[in-house]
């Protein structure tokens, strides 16, 4: 009996610890965005509570004195475009690599993954030449062009292991049941792959939203900035950090991502698991 209480206690203790661990950044963001500047910067105040009445001054700064909504919109637009490009390239690439017989498929797959491993901190130098030659500097198009260089390999790899877990016989059955290859892909393979494709969409979106280096290197106009660089360049002025606005902006930007993950959590997990294990 005592044993069971200890085990249960340990279990709930761990649960509470992890809930606090993962929720506390959101909590800090939430209270910081409503705290008065004076409250925020007084080292004698308890940082986890409101010590003075709340204020909306930071939100006002965020929405009226910066192009915060434009940043969000830009990120969203780039995200949509990059997701579309990624799906168009990664799905057929992954399918052919997964179905390619022999060593060629595997080596090509590894080769594609290797390109993902080259750090953007090196790549942005040659890519900035490309961007300027094409005349895309200071435009969202530069990001739409460059982001697929890492989302496509990553998602190809992810989808490849996903397609490998779908038995070839299911495709062949479709061929025998009257489908052409194209038909078999759209009518059978694609619907089965929806968990994998949703995973890819969510991952691509996340990758785009938190990309920093390319956005910083290629975009200088405030109106063309994405959320990651927009916030950090417009709300950190010299050595002055606008903490309230920064926290508020970060929290608001993370809400759609959180909703996306929560909505599709089951599918994402089954998408990732499908990639690793056979059903």
């Amino acid at each position: 009996m005592l044993n069971r209480i200890i085990i249960r206690g340990g279990f709930y203790g761990a649960l509470v610890f992890f809930i606090i661990f993962s929720a506390s950044p959101f909590y800090v963001m939430l209270i910081t965005m409503f705290k008065r500047g004076h409250d925020l910067f007084n080292p004698n105040n308890n940082p986890f509570f409101f010590n003075e009445p709340i204020t909306l001054e930071h939100l006002d700064l965020l929405f009226t004195q910066t192009l915060y909504t434009k940043f969000l919109l830009n990120t969203f637009l780039v995200g949509i475009a990059v997701v579309a490009i990624t799906i168009i390239f990664a799905v057929p690439a992954a399918l052919s690599l997964a179905r390619m017989a022999g060593r060629w498929g595997e080596n090509l797959g590894i080769g594609i993954f290797l390109t993902y491993l080259i750090p953007p901190t090196l790549l942005f130098i040659p890519l900035s030449r490309v961007v300027s030659t094409l005349g895309l500097q200071n435009s969202l198009w530069s990001l739409i062009l460059v982001y697929p260089t890492f989302t496509v390999p990553f998602c190809t790899w992810l989808l490849m292991s996903f397609f490998k877990s779908i038995p070839r016989e299911i495709e062949e059955q479709a061929l025998i049941d009257g489908c052409s290859r194209i038909n078999a892909f759209f009518k059978i393979l694609l619907p089965i792959s929806i968990p994998g494709i949703i995973t890819v969409i969510v991952f691509t979106f996340t990758l785009v939203a938190h990309e920093y280096i390319y956005a910083l290197a290629f975009i200088q106009d405030s109106g063309e900035k994405t959320i990651g660089i927009g916030m950090t360049t417009e709300l950190v002025r010299g050595d002055v950090f606008y903490w309230g606005a920064l926290m508020g902006g970060a929290l608001i930007a993370s809400i759609p991502v959180a909703i996306l993950y929560t909505l599709f959590l089951d599918r994402i997990i089954s998408g990732l698991a499908m990639g690793t294990a056979k059903r």
């Binding site: 016989e169 059955q173 061929l175 025998i176 049941d177 489908c179 052409s180 038909n183 009518k187 089965i192």
Partner: protein, 333 residues
């Protein structure tokens, strides 16, 4: 209903000769079992007929039409895979209906045909479920119903019973034979299980190393094997072989009995040293040696046998088969 002819079919994967020259005619409405060990090329041969592989050489003819260049969907064939390959995201009804939907039939006739096929296989009550919600035996029936719903000219089955447990497999085998007779579809059935081949096949083609070693009725295959491969592969336990000068003498375990129990006069008498007795209920398997050659007797009659003792055993001369020692082919004596 259809006749399938294969002429000089070869299929090489690089240096591997999966199918190495096969001539075969499958008659209209026939149930042909392709029997062979794994790697013998039997599945490749079936995939060639289906059009999932293209042959390196040779012609495949279905109902007089050369179909080498015809894609699987236009060959009028249906196939049941070993894994059943049910579409996991479709209900049982939609699985069975899929070939008809692709064909572009209207809803009324699709429903009618699906109900017909489901009724034939006794799975009418499962139509609303998903493939993950039905048992292995039911999946197999769904796969067969989906294969039959289009009324194929040729039905191809790749070890459809091997994923079932032993009990279900027995009844499934019986049903398979009954409905195949009922609808009379030309059937090619790949298996490595000789009991399935013997029980189901009108004829059996025994394959090894990419070629057909023998083709014939189950009786011919069992009683008149044309070479030592077929003799040794078919039969559980397999045929006993004893080398004698330039010939190999073969006899089935159930013909190798204590001399006292045989009434015939024309016998070959052998001294049998018993090593081990396996009692399997209705019969005993007796493992032992003649000289230093291992042989097995299958004894279903009561007769006292003890391990580690010698007995007088005999084979009737008419039950003995002779094979050439060099080539392993059957010799008539």
């Amino acid at each position: 209903m259809a006749v399938v002819e294969l002429i000089g079919i070869k299929k090489y994967f690089g240096h591997v000769k999966a199918v190495d020259g096969i001539d075969l005619e499958i008659k209209d409405g026939e149930f042909l079992a392709l029997l062979g060990p794994s790697g013998s090329g039997k599945t490749t041969l079936m995939r060639l007929i289906a059009g999932l592989e293209s042959s390196t050489e040779g012609k495949i003819i279905i109902n007089g039409e050369i179909v080498n260049e015809v894609p699987p969907r236009a060959r009028g064939i249906a196939m049941v895979f070993q894994s059943y390959a049910l579409y996991p995201h479709k209900t049982i009804f939609k699985n069975i209906a899929f070939p008809l939907v692709v064909e572009g039939l209207n809803k009324e006739s699709i429903k009618k045909k699906v109900l017909w096929a489901a009724g034939l296989l006794g799975i009418g009550h499962l139509l609303g479920r998903m493939p993950s919600q039905v048992s292995g035996g039911e999946k197999q029936r769904v796969a067969i119903a989906r294969a039959l719903v289009r009324r194929p000219k040729v039905l191809l089955m790749d070890e459809p019973l091997s994923n079932l447990d032993a009990k279900v497999r027995h009844t499934a085998r019986e049903e398979l034979k009954l409905f195949q007779r009922e609808i009379g579809v030309t059937t090619v059935y790949v298996t490595h299980d000789q009991a399935e081949a013997m029980g189901l096949g009108d004829r059996i083609a025994v394959m090894n190393e990419g070629i057909i070693r023998q083709i014939g009725t189950p009786e011919e295959i069992y009683h008149e094997p044309v070479n030592t491969f077929v003799a040794g592969f078919v039969g559980i336990p397999p045929m006993n072989f004893i080398e004698q000068d330039s010939v190999i003498i073969g006899f089935r375990p159930e013909t190798f009995l204590p001399t006292e129990l045989i009434t015939d006069k024309d016998l070959m008498k052998l001294r049998f040293r018993v090593e081990r007795v396996e009692n399997l209920g209705s019969y005993r398997l007796i493992y032992g040696t003649i000289g230093d050659v291992k042989v097995i007797s299958n004894l279903s009659l009561p007769y006292p046998i003890k391990e580690r003792e010698e007995y007088d055993f005999s084979v009737r001369l008419q039950d003995i088969r002779y094979f050439d020692k060099e080539k392993g082919v059957s010799i008539k004596k």
